[in-house]
Amino acid sequence: MMLLSDKENSASKFFILTAVFWLVVGMTLGLTGAIEFVAPDASTGYGPLTFSRIRPTHVNTVAFGWLSMANIGIVLYIVPTLTKVKLFNEKLANFVCVVWNLAILLGVGCLVHGYSEGREYAEYPVPIDVMVLIGLLSLSYVIYMTVIQRKVKKLYVSLWYILGAFFWMPIVYFIGNRTFVRLDGLNDAIVNWFYGHNILGMWFTTLGVGIAYYMIPKLSGKPLWSHSLSMLGFWTIAFFYAPTGTHHILQAPVPEWLKALAVVFSVALVIPVITVLTNFFMTMKGSWWQLANNLPLRFVLTGALFYLFTCIQGPFQATRSINWYIHFTQWVPGHAHAALLGTFTFFNFGAIYYILPRILGRQFYSVGLAKAHYWFTFIGFNIFYFVFTVIGLIQASGWQQGMEVSQWSIALEPYWFYRAFGGALMWFGNVLFLINVFMTWRGAKPLDPPDEEPAMSVKRTGA
């Protein structure tokens, strides 16, 4: 335990730095997969490089290695600032970070070599599940204890979201990865998708929205538009999100009442989305000009824009008539990327650009690199998302017209290339991000004068 630091915000720093590393690893895996759609023989018969092994590795690495760890790193910074007390147990949080990094590393190794449980989003083998769960429970303990000891009486809405996420996620993760209860085929699928959708709804969404609720007022310097509306958003998410998982298998022979439940609640999710976005955009009312020179805010609001797209798409594609058309196509991964990459990853970028200088107590290494990061990621993602959607529509019409797969699949050839191209742009932007974060961490002298980008400087918008 000698290695584990007790310094304030050390866990947050550790989580964020390693998360950025895993982001680049995960995106490299994703890009490899995308390239294999263009050049299917690229794996040259080497098992671990085969697309079907790369895909679960990519999903798990970006979901647990990047997004979860970055979220946690940011949360570990936000919670003490909102409660005005030190983190309850910094050492434990640092320990969790070590365990998680180990788990993700093992996970990459296991999944590319085919040691997978075969259930989507729950592919990690049992030992890694145990490690992840230990991490989650310890973090829940740390965060709940911090909040209980708080010096601010009222809970800000971000804390509600964070507390909710750390209550739901350990339960959801446990249910999703219970391998000791063997269920028959379709029951297994039902539980699998309860987990598969709730890891998005009760973890990434709640943490992501909580972070955005903290970041937007902080970065724009304006008070939150409506606290009561934010609470409505929280409670509707809490009620409506959890039963929606079955919409992933809406056309499989599972019980109809379960499907009906999933569809009704999926559509009801429009309510939290509209409340959250109304709140964000009304908070920004009259200060949209800040987007011009406030880079972290630009990241967060771009995320909010993609949140609008993805969350209007989501409820509608869960209805039976639209699901009938677009299910099984690349439209759906496009939607998933819009949520996890377009929205929550962008929230995290903004938050990291704001938080990392404050934790390290020095300027970001390069504002120019950060700008390049924004534009590469933003343009790359737009291409990527649009192409995913187009591919989905082509595939859907292929299925609908009863055409042979091999007949419409050849029409997709150029689109696989465009998709890989968009992905490559994002990948490049995030390599720049990794360099920028690494140089900042190593304490390299900032390239640009600190006052050029007000929001990225430590002094001007103090925490």
């Binding site: 079907s52 092994r53 989507e120 085929g185 039902i190 039963p243 797969v405 699949s409």
Partner: protein
């Protein structure tokens, strides 16, 4: 703890337990489909193959349930079909075809060749090669794929098999080895096939340039292994996924047999390969290689004269 937060905390707790009860526990209690007559209890080999299927991640591109709107994927599935399928391999993405009724559609050798290099069997496919599978894993995987929906198919029997065409041999009135029949076939070929396959069957007819999947080049050694029935089946049923039509809708059986007679006379490509399996021994093969090269170099390349301009395009498999 502040008393103001006890009620919200309680509400979260109750609502979430309620949700878990309805969506996780309730289906577990009340949804127990009986094994249907199509549910497959896997043999040891098939179960191993299922493990390979899961390990290799086939599920990320191939689903295992036929929906109402899917045409050409065989009979629909029922809840009871999946009783023995744990972990579930339903899938959520179809980058490739649905596999619920895949068993029996193709022979084992087809699957093996397809796993080793999918593009030799289905041109244009983007499936990765699974050449890294060990021999026993490959065997198991093929056994599993052949088990998919095999009971459904036995009942519905909707699939064409070249076996059905074996019966056609009995009614055949044409001697496909006679030059008269080949000559008759030539005319039919020039009228119907040459626009795509070219006058010499090299797959370079005028239409070929406009086709995403190039027409077959019959001079490739591959086609020299076709027997009469395979030729007849191919011509009558066409090639799904390409522009090759089902000629049985236009030609009579007799005409198609003439065509087969002609197709069998098409020469193989000017390419060196062992004449017979006896010569597969390296030393003999080298000898023969030299002999063939000399032979080819001395021959006037009659076939290639007409293909000046665009080079002969490789036909895609079949």
């Amino acid at each position: 703890m502040n008393k103001n937060y006890i009620l919200p905390g309680f509400v979260i707790l109750v609502s979430f337990s309620l949700i878990i009860f309805t969506t996780v526990l309730l289906p577990h209690f009340i949804f127990h489909p009986e094994p249907s007559e199509y549910a497959v209890e896997y043999t040891e080999l098939e179960a191993k193959g299922r493990d390979v299927y899961r390990r290799e991640g086939c599920v990320y591109c191939h689903s295992q349930f036929v929906r109402l709107q899917d045409r050409g994927f065989g009979p629909l599935v029922e809840a009871g079909d999946y009783v023995y399928d744990t972990p579930n391999l339903l899938g959520t993405i179809r980058t490739g075809p649905d596999l619920s009724n895949e068993g029996g559609k193709h022979p084992d050798a087809w699957h093996k060749a397809h796993f080793i290099n999918p593009r030799t069997i289905t041109p244009g496919s983007i499936m990765p090669p699974f050449v890294h599978l060990k021999e026993d894993d490959m065997e198991a995987l093929i056994a599993y794929v052949q088990s998919l929906g095999k009971k459904r198919l036995k009942k519905y029997d909707r699939i064409y098999r070249p076996d059905e065409y074996v019966a056609k041999l009995e009614k055949r009135t044409v001697d496909v080895n006679s030059s008269a029949a080949a000559n008759a076939g030539r005319g039919i070929f020039q009228q119907n096939c040459a626009t795509c396959h070219g006058t010499h069957g090299l797959g370079n007819g005028p239409n070929a340039i406009a086709l995403a999947k190039k027409p077959a080049n019959f001079s490739r050694p591959f086609y020299k292994d076709y027997d009469d029935v395979t030729w007849f089946w191919r011509v009558s049923e066409g090639v799904p996924g390409t522009r090759m039509p089902q000629w049985r809708k236009k030609l009579t059986d007799e005409q198609m047999w003439y065509l087969v007679a002609f197709l069998k006379t098409l020469p193989r490509v000017n390419e060196v390969y062992p004449h017979s399996y006896e010569t597969l021994e390296p030393d003999k093969w080298l000898e023969q290689l030299k002999a063939s090269e000399a032979e080819l170099n001395s021959e006037p390349k009659a076939m290639l004269i007409e293909t000046q301009g665009p080079p002969p395009m490789a036909g895609g498999g079949h």
